[in-house]
Symmetry: C2
Subunit: 286 residues, 2 copies
């Protein structure tokens, strides 16, 4: 059993810190001191502040803290990679403070990067929530899809699904039609079916055209289904199980899209996965 430590999931806009003892969270805090908000020189004081509030404990920092906008840039570990490669590449700021490296992936046609998600994705396996081999999805602004083989991430793809949705809702021709909240309803499922046709630019204009021609449609849900459907259809092999690391409402939407496209969704708690992943990393350094 490892001693208590502090784990920080340091995102771009938000930051969560956990005190973890014997695999269980005994204290937590969340604030908006994300990496985009913290000047580089302020990290020592930020970290000291967390320790002042949560305890003088060893710390593991994951996420954007290791990026160009973070404390210091920690090189990516190339996938395929699992816990061993990540632990071997921990970047120690001092003897009780280490930054977890992100992962990169390259093949003939693709390049991809992640920072922070690797802890959650591998943690879902460490927690026993997903098998050693499977397809994991972590929906969000940038949806991460990871292929797990033998408990290691052998490849991954990021899709700007959530960001495209936000851009369309805020700035596009469709912004006046996209005035609600996306629901996993019939309009969403119609969008999923259309998204699987992979003709996004045309499918989007058709939303406008239908409204001009007088159709009443939940355009927000349809557009959400269009984007999520395109994302899911590009990733799953039919009848495959997809392990979805998300909370409602995103977990509901991705789950509905996976089912509609012939896969089997399985929702996994994202916080528990992070805690399990970072605890495994801590145990391997002890």
């Amino acid at each position: 059993m490892s001693d208590a430590f502090i784990a920080v999931d340091w995102g771009t806009t938000n930051r969560r810190a956990f005190v973890i003892r014997e695999g269980a969270v005994v204290a937590t805090e969340r604030d908006d001191h994300g990496a985009a908000m913290v000047p580089r020189d302020d990290y020592p004081a930020e970290v000291a502040g967390i320790r002042a509030r949560l305890g003088e404990l060893p710390m593991l920092l994951a996420g954007m803290v290791g990026s160009t906008i973070g404390w210091r840039q920690v090189p990516y570990v190339a996938a395929p990679a699992g816990f061993e490669e990540i632990v071997a590449a921990l970047d120690y700021v001092d003897d009780r403070t280490a930054i977890v490296p992100g992962l990169c992936y390259r093949d003939a046609v693709r390049a991809d990067v992640m920072r922070g998600e690797e802890v959650q994705l591998l943690g879902a396996f460490a927690a026993g929530s997903v098998p050693a081999d499977g397809l994991l999805a972590q929906p969000g602004t940038h949806c991460k899809w990871a292929r797990l083989e033998g408990g290691r991430i052998t490849g991954f793809t990021t899709a700007m699904t959530g960001e495209l949705f936000s851009l369309l809702r805020a700035h596009s021709l469709l912004r006046h039609q996209m005035d609600g909240t996306a629901q996993a309803n019939d309009a969403f499922l119609a969008g999923v079916a259309e998204g699987a046709r992979h003709d996004l630019a045309a499918s989007l204009f058709a939303i406008r055209a239908r409204a001009v021609l007088g159709a009443k449609e939940d355009a927000t849900s349809f557009a959400s289904g269009l984007l999520i459907g395109g994302d899911v259809a590009a990733r799953i092999v039919s009848s495959e199980t997809v392990y979805i690391l998300a909370d409602p409402p995103l977990s509901d939407l991705y789950s509905a899209a996976v089912t509609a496209l012939g896969g089997t969704p399985h929702i996994v708690g994202s916080r528990a996965s992070f805690v399990a992943g970072i605890t495994r990393i801590r145990e391997m350094t002890a």
Copy 2:
């Protein structure tokens, strides 16, 4: 031979007026009194102003002037449709002023609308620039693709290709990388090949990932190729000729994408097509 008349191509943001005599433009003006700028009640004065400047002639108005944001809403003519159906549905405001209707299209999965483009698309055929049967593309913010059969538009698809490019350049994660002008270069062609894979949300994130991993890339041209390549690949049947109604630089970009994807591009003058189309409509009313 028809007498002289005034043709107005009344877009959302711009307006062009032509005095046409025996099929030739003898005077023209262009301003920013697009339909979005002109309050409904101002149309009589706007039209009187055009006549005061260009002559007391019969007028044919095409484009957004017939839309919900225009002078008055003229019902769409359902495709398949050619000049005959359009002429039959001209909306006469008075005995010397008529608005040209737009076209709509519906099938089991698609809905689409156009206002103004139909004059140019059918005009390309009237001018002898395209055959009676062919695939026409009119690139822009919303790229119109029309299937011509027997000199009539039998179906069409609008893709928000240009609008997506603008949204990404102005507001997305990629905005700092997209700082140049799109060129039909190697990066563009790499984008076209990637776009034909129809996985836009993931292909877009990869632009970011490659930059993070240190690759130097003309991201503007790649992103342009990605969007245009996806658009062209969804529309053409291999080795088909595509008649592109556009001016540089868009004509160059679409031409390069069509060639890269196995089609044969053929560039057609868009202004000459409009003039030929509106002249044909005028002749059929005389």
